[in-house]
């Protein structure tokens, strides 16, 4: 099956149904999880109603990192095995990663203000997510700047891997920079044990966002495939049938 899926033509045809079901499942799940978090969970003892932001913020932040890791792995696969689909994946996932990271950052800012009284803190987590955003942006910009597809694919792979090495180093360096330099005034919700009541909708949204983003990336890959293989017979045939 994997062998078949590595061929653009089979992938394009097979992904269509996947996109449909992933979208359906993801959107329904997100609707259920968000409604649950917004209307059926009681306000939290310390954070009050602002805890409801968590149901979007935590999944977005988690997805942002997972998308980056996936892109870096795809980059390694592309460099080692020259697999074309790995590059198609990188091209499709990078803008999605940028937007997911932006959502995580914005929701983090909006959560920080009511709960800690500040919009932004320069701690290891916030800094690394912000850098992650610029890395995603760099991936998109680099691909756009390089005209030749082969060269762009290689360059983006290298940048993705370099960035993946960079993120944990940033976490450590910020931790050493801030904790030793000025005692952290706020622990980001680390000491607060969260009750299961609050966690269930979180899991629903987390899983649903995974599913939805997987569907979106697959859909983006299909668009990219049509663009790349415009001149081939299977794309022409697909156009004729639609």
């Amino acid at each position: 099956m994997f062998h078949r899926m590595a061929s653009p033509e089979h992938f394009f045809a097979g992904a269509r149904l996947w996109v449909f079901w992933l979208y359906l499942l993801g959107v329904t799940g997100l609707a259920i999880g968000s409604a649950w978090g917004l209307f059926f969970v009681p306000p939290e003892k310390y954070q009050g109603d602002s805890v409801r932001i968590m149901y979007l913020h935590v999944p977005a932040a988690h997805l942002a990192q997972m998308i980056y890791i996936a892109i870096a792995v795809a980059g390694a696969i592309h460099i080692i095995w020259r697999l074309k689909m790995a590059d198609v994946f990188m091209a499709a996932a990078a803008p999605i990663g940028a937007i997911t990271t932006a959502l995580a950052l914005i929701s983090g800012i909006m959560w920080g203000r009511p709960t800690w009284g500040v919009w932004w803190i320069w701690d290891a987590r916030t800094t690394s997510v912000l850098i992650l955003f610029f890395l995603f942006f760099g991936l998109v910009a680099l691909r756009q700047a390089i005209g030749r597809r082969e060269r762009a694919a290689f360059a983006v792979s290298v940048l993705a891997i370099a960035g993946a090495i960079n993120i944990p180093i940033i976490k450590y360096s910020v931790e050493w920079f801030t904790t030793l330099h000025q005692p952290a005034s706020i622990e980001l919700g680390r000491n607060i044990a969260i009750d299961t009541v609050f966690l269930l909708p979180l899991f629903v949204n987390l899983a649903s966002l995974y599913v939805f983003v997987a569907g979106v990336i697959l859909a983006n890959m299909r668009v990219d495939l049509v663009n790349r293989y415009q001149t081939t017979s299977w794309v022409s045939e697909w156009f004729r049938n639609n």
């Binding site: 979208y23 959107v27 997100l30 968000s34 917004l38 306000p43 009050g48 109603d49 602002s50 409801r52 932001i53 979007l56 913020h57 977005a60 803008p95 999605i96 937007i99 997911t100 932006a102 959502l103 914005i106 929701s107 909006m110 959560w111 203000r113 009511p114 939805f212 569907g215 979106v216 859909a219 983006n220 299909r222 668009v223 049509v226 663009n227 156009f239 639609n242």
Partner: protein
């Protein structure tokens, strides 16, 4: 939701816009590709 309502609702509004945008983009792009192909055919 009291004081926090504005923060909660704006986060979910932004989330809806962002996710809606990335969700619809590929379908619009495919449709645009189809239309362009059709126009090319008609010109020829």
């Amino acid at each position: 939701m009291g004081d926090h309502g504005i923060y909660v609702w704006s986060v979910y509004a932004i989330g809806l816009i962002f996710l809606g945008a990335i969700g619809t983009y590929p379908h619009m792009a495919l449709r645009r590709l189809k239309r362009r192909r059709r126009e090319d055919k008609e010109q020829r």
